[in-house]
């Protein structure tokens, strides 16, 4: 018989397997779908290594180095400076943050101050995701979208969008990461003549519909059952 400690070791190893499963599912479901601004931030982070290094060498902690990197990223995001200027400004900003303003040439300082001024007056960047690439179809009810074309691609399609302040993901494919069933506990439904299942996990509300060989998975965060059903009805109706 196993000891408590051995059982706990087994639990830890099981967690590693669960992580693998989560990663596989999330990679498949989310792929590279992140806001473009996050990509830019990470790119700026890579470019801003000099700024981070400067901050770290000057005795500041990681947090401050990160802040400097973010500042550089913001400059780039707002289009106030090009990539090179952004890097220079981030370095200058590092010096300013570290109280080293006197070490920065007036020209660079003016550039940074203008950039900061621009930051103050620029509108807040939208938190909504950017418009989808051309190969992402759908989302809002009424949009021109054809199930058949999506299925023909044989690959999962989907897109995040905000609809009535709800976050939703729509995936359409012949095969989906979660399979063709939501499993036990799902409620059978029929929407727009399409059979399917509905399940509320407490965190997400998932609707899986079958259109011939095609699966349509609609996942909401924080929605009511009625909203999900209504959305699906409108989506199907608009594509009939």
């Amino acid at each position: 018989m196993r000891t408590e400690d051995e059982r706990f070791e087994s639990l830890l190893r099981s967690y590693a397997l669960r992580l693998d499963r989560e990663i596989a599912v999330e990679d498949a479901a989310w792929g590279g779908r992140v806001p473009e601004r996050l990509d830019r931030r990470i790119e700026a982070l890579t470019l801003g290594a000099g700024a981070a290094e400067a901050a770290a060498l000057a005795g500041t902690g990681l947090r401050k180095a990160s802040t400097v990197g973010k500042f550089g990223a913001r400059l780039g995001r707002l289009g106030l400076l090009g990539a090179i200027k952004g890097l220079v400004a981030a370095l200058a900003a590092a010096a300013l943050l570290l109280g080293g303003a006197y070490l920065v040439s007036p020209v660079v300082r003016e550039t940074v101050e203008n950039a900061v001024s621009g930051l103050r007056t620029a509108p807040e960047p939208s938190t909504a995701l950017p418009d989808s690439p051309a190969d992402w179809v759908i989302p809002s009810p009424g949009a021109d979208f054809t199930l058949r074309d999506e299925a023909a691609s044989g690959t999962m399609q989907g897109r995040w969008f905000t609809s009535e302040a709800r976050e939703c993901m729509v995936q359409i494919a012949a095969r989906l990461p979660g399979g063709s069933s939501l499993g036990d506990g799902a409620e059978p439904v029929e929407i727009g003549g399409l059979p399917g299942e509905y399940q509320d996990t407490g965190l997400t509300q998932v609707l899986l519909l079958r259109a011939g060989d095609t699966l349509i998975r609609i996942e909401f965060w924080g929605a009511e059952r009625g909203e999900v059903i209504e959305y699906a009805e409108r989506l199907i109706e608009s594509n009939e």
Binding site: L12, V34, P35, I42, G179
Partner: protein, 190 residues
């Protein structure tokens, strides 16, 4: 594990950038699950990439799967740190986070397991790891999630290899106690 803060090297940045490119959707989802706030989640991913870049030498020696696990846990850790900074009054910032794992599609076998105690404890484990002292957390993650050898763990911790097993035993013991406390607290709350 790293006791000094170092700027990331070029290789670390490259490896971290590659990991981000390969798993960025998953990484953002992980942060969102913890924070339920998109801008904050993006901050968490940003911080995590920086942390990963600083540990480039560790990434270099990992398999693809291990690196993905490490990246996911690093994002989660960064998200927990941000949540705690945002709500310092909470000792466990994720206490109120819904069980995100329930959101995953399950097979009939897994549904059966869901009723099993092992599944419940597995659900609780991420919170236990988050609440552990950093050294204990790094030890358990290094040993069981990243499959690091005792020598690699010893090197990362700056201790002798032969003391690693003892430290691991103690870390598991502390984690078990913490888990029992959380189970008890959760049971009281139900």
């Amino acid at each position: 594990m790293d006791k000094t803060i170092r700027p990331p090297g070029a290789e670390g940045l490259r490896l971290a950038a590659e990991l981000y490119a390969k798993h960025k959707g998953m990484l953002l989802k992980t942060a969102l699950d913890c924070l339920h706030d998109r801008p904050l989640a993006e901050d968490a991913v940003h911080d995590a990439v920086l942390r990963l870049a600083q540990r480039g030498e560790r990434l270099r020696d990992m398999s693809e799967g291990e690196a993905a696990r490490y990246a996911k846990l690093t994002v989660r850790s960064a998200a927990v740190d941000l949540a705690r900074r945002r709500h310092p009054e909470r000792t466990d910032a994720l206490e109120e986070t819904p069980d995100e794992l329930l959101a995953w599609p399950t097979t009939p076998e897994e549904d059966y397991l869901a009723r099993d105690e092992a599944r419940r404890r597995l659900d609780l484990l991420p919170r236990v790891l988050d609440a552990l002292a950093p050294v204990d957390r790094e030890l358990l993650i290094g040993k069981y999630i990243l499959n690091l050898s005792d020598e690699a763990l010893a090197q990362a911790l700056g201790v002798r290899a032969r003391s690693v097993q003892m430290k691991l035993t103690r870390a598991r013991h502390r984690a078990r106690i913490l888990m029992e406390r959380m189970e008890s607290t959760d049971a009281d709350g139900r």
